[in-house]
């Protein structure tokens, strides 16, 4: 069965549902968003990812209408929404604190938005029942928010924000208050609900794992700029900068000078070490400063010298055992350290490599990415 891949951003004929056009936001002297342009497409699950203070929440609040735009425009389905107050926008938001109305029952919380736009009681009741079923809350309809658990509150907040069938749903750190196990379950539930309702979701998060799990595309932000906007796989495999490589997942970053060689570069990175051979599409001038980033799971560790384009000798100084995998910290000659990750296919007692062992670390020429300074 052929399945078309969902990637509207690659299709130049697709009209974005949201368009940020040269948006700048300042708070007094402080500039939170710098001249930022971004397109988000219908049915996307779009993640704004970054450390706290990077401007991701400001972006979301501008979409909801709680912050004005200092300069530039935001278009929703082609309409400039800059001057439209929050209560007139076809956008709903799920708040980080959930912001459930404590004096209303679960049923009344979900019906709140519907009652503002329609007087037809039967219609409201039918919609609320539908939302209760979707979020598996039917049993709790009569309870007050303080009488249900954290996970249930999270679902009430979701049901309430989805009840009006918004064109766009904003989620502000929606799973931050849940414990790890519940959070993982809820991530899949969110994806499921997003697919069922066909709503465009924009999620703000600082948790890179969460963004990787749920999002169709991720925008990595830093100090009011978009650093990279791409699919989770691209962000992970082909980060466009040291910042992104370092922010997402675990990584070895080596500094050196590139020399073009064949269809890639050879990087001189440390005294007494052979240069790194790496394939890259970027053209470097001879001797140009660069960074080489390689993920620990793409680095192998062996007792015998492996047959790979890049191999380095070193000594194991630390092993982090995580059950399914182990991360080896290897000190190379000259004091450089490299992390290598191995799946623990054998039981711990049969492990070949241990502390202080002389080993070889190695990786292929396509394992890492070469980044310009």
């Amino acid at each position: 069965m052929a399945q078309t891949v969902f990637a509207p951003w690659t299709d130049p004929d697709q009209k974005p549902i949201i368009e940020f056009r040269n948006v700048t936001k300042t708070f007094g002297e402080f500039t939170a968003i710098h001249d930022l342009s971004l397109n988000i497409y219908e049915r996307e699950f779009f993640a704004l990812l970054g450390p706290s203070g990077c401007g991701k929440t400001t972006m979301m609040r501008m979409l909801a209408g709680f912050e004005t735009i200092s300069s530039g425009h935001i278009f929703l389905s082609g309409q400039d929404i800059g001057a439209i107050p929050p209560n007139k926008r076809p956008v709903n938001m799920m708040f980080q604190s959930y912001a459930l109305f404590p004096h209303l029952s679960v049923w009344e919380n979900i019906a709140f938005g519907l009652k503002r736009e329609s007087r037809d009681r039967d219609q409201i009741a039918a919609r609320v029942e539908e939302m209760l079923r979707l979020t598996r809350l039917t049993k709790f309809a009569k309870r007050k928010p303080h009488q249900i658990s954290g996970g249930q509150r999270q679902r009430v907040a979701l049901a309430r924000s989805l009840a009006k069938a918004p064109k766009l749903l904003l989620l502000d750190e929606p799973l931050g208050a849940l414990d790890r196990k519940l959070r993982e379950e809820t991530q899949f539930e969110l994806m499921d609900i997003q697919e069922k309702t066909g709503t465009t979701f924009v999620i703000v998060t600082h948790d890179q794992e969460e963004a990787m799990t749920v999002a169709s595309r991720i925008a990595v932000m830093d100090e009011g700029h978009l650093v990279q906007v791409a699919t989770p796989a691209e962000i992970y495999e082909a980060p466009n900068s040291v910042y992104v490589a370092d922010f997402i997942g675990d990584v070895n970053i080596l500094q050196g000078r590139a020399t073009p060689q064949g269809d890639g570069v050879s990087i001189d990175w440390a005294e007494g070490q052979p240069p790194i051979r790496a394939a890259t599409d970027t053209t470097f001038s001879p001797g140009q400063a660069c960074h080489f980033a390689v993920r620990p799971e793409k680095v192998t560790i062996d007792v015998e010298r492996p047959d790979r384009p890049n191999t380095f000798r070193g000594k194991v100084i630390d092993i982090a055992y995580l059950g399914n995998i182990s991360t080896y910290h290897v000190e190379l000659a000259g004091g450089h350290r490299m992390k290598a990750q191995m799946v623990n296919a054998r039981r711990l007692a049969n492990r070949q490599i241990t502390w202080e062992d002389e080993v070889w670390v190695g990786f292929t020429d396509t394992a890492g990415v070469v980044l310009e300074e």
């Binding site: 909801a64 209560n87 938001m93 912001a99 004096h103 309870r143 303080h146 009488q147």
Partner: protein
């Protein structure tokens, strides 16, 4: 249980005696048979009966209640609005001055407040009576309401209002449907405070009153100048009773709400 040392017991006894002995004396003498206040002549409730037949006292009581209800209601509306603006409007120029001016009447000597109001009413040529007392009580009671309500609003989660706006409410609807129901306990206690303040105010009322409106405190004060009568004791005892019943009822209601909420939360935890 820990036993109190003799020092603690003594200071506790003296402290409570200091606070309540005068009131106990007053209550006891209100049941005195004798017309002479300080001579005990046996138990009787006849002064209460006489009080209820005294039209002047009944009129004064009616005026007092009217003034207290109107002024506390008006003060609650104005005080809540002022508190809302102060807490919500963020930083606007003159905010400090404005909030300072709201709270200044709290520390202003009552005599000065009363005198300035009197001058204003004379200047504006307003006939003094129930209306002017209501205005006067509103002005000073709204500061108290504003203090009570703004302390509640400071801890109020702003995102609740944003959620209401997000779901389609206008700013006023958000206040009416979300903010007001949640801060209602603070607004009610602000109203009760304003009501009590108005009920026992003598100074400002006597400055702003006219011949047509005599409140109970004014009545008691002027009656006492002619000598303390057992009738006044009976009246005071009734006022103490009303205040005590109100305070106890309010605290029981608050406590019950807290207990039932705690129980509901416990139930929710078990259900998980």
């Amino acid at each position: 249980m820990r036993r109190f040392s003799w020092f603690n017991t003594t200071s506790l006894t003296l402290g409570f005696a200091f606070l309540y002995l005068p009131m106990i004396l007053l209550v006891v003498y209100s049941f005195n048979e004798s017309r002479l206040v300080t001579v005990w002549a046996g138990f009787s409730t006849k002064w209460y009966g006489e009080l209820l037949r005294d039209q002047a006292f009944l009129d004064a009581a009616w005026v007092t209640v009217k003034v207290a209800v109107f002024s506390s209601t008006l003060a609650t509306v104005l005080g809540t609005m002022a508190a809302y603006v102060l807490v919500r409007a963020g930083r606007f120029s003159g905010r400090t001055l404005f909030s300072g001016m709201i709270y200044a009447p709290l520390v202003m000597p009552e005599v000065i407040t009363g005198l300035s109001l009197l001058l204003l009413f004379i200047g504006l040529n307003i006939d003094r009576g129930v209306f002017t007392i209501v205005l006067a009580h509103t002005t000073f009671a709204m500061c108290y309401v504003s203090v009570v309500v703004s302390s509640r609003l400071t801890s109020f989660d702003r995102s609740l209002e944003e959620a209401a706006l997000d779901l389609g409410c206008s700013a006023f609807e958000a206040f009416r449907l979300v903010t007001l129901p949640i801060i209602a306990p603070a607004v009610i206690s602000g109203w009760l405070l304003a009501f009590t303040l108005s009920l026992d105010d003598l100074v400002i009322a006597s400055f702003t009153t006219g011949p047509s409106a005599t409140t109970l405190p004014i009545k008691i004060f002027s009656a006492v100048r002619l000598g303390v009568s057992p009738q006044i004791n009976a009246l005071s005892t009734l006022m103490i009773a009303v205040v005590t019943v109100g305070v106890v009822a309010a605290s029981i209601i608050t406590k019950r709400a807290a207990v039932s909420q705690a129980r509901d939360e416990q139930a929710a935890i078990r259900a998980e």
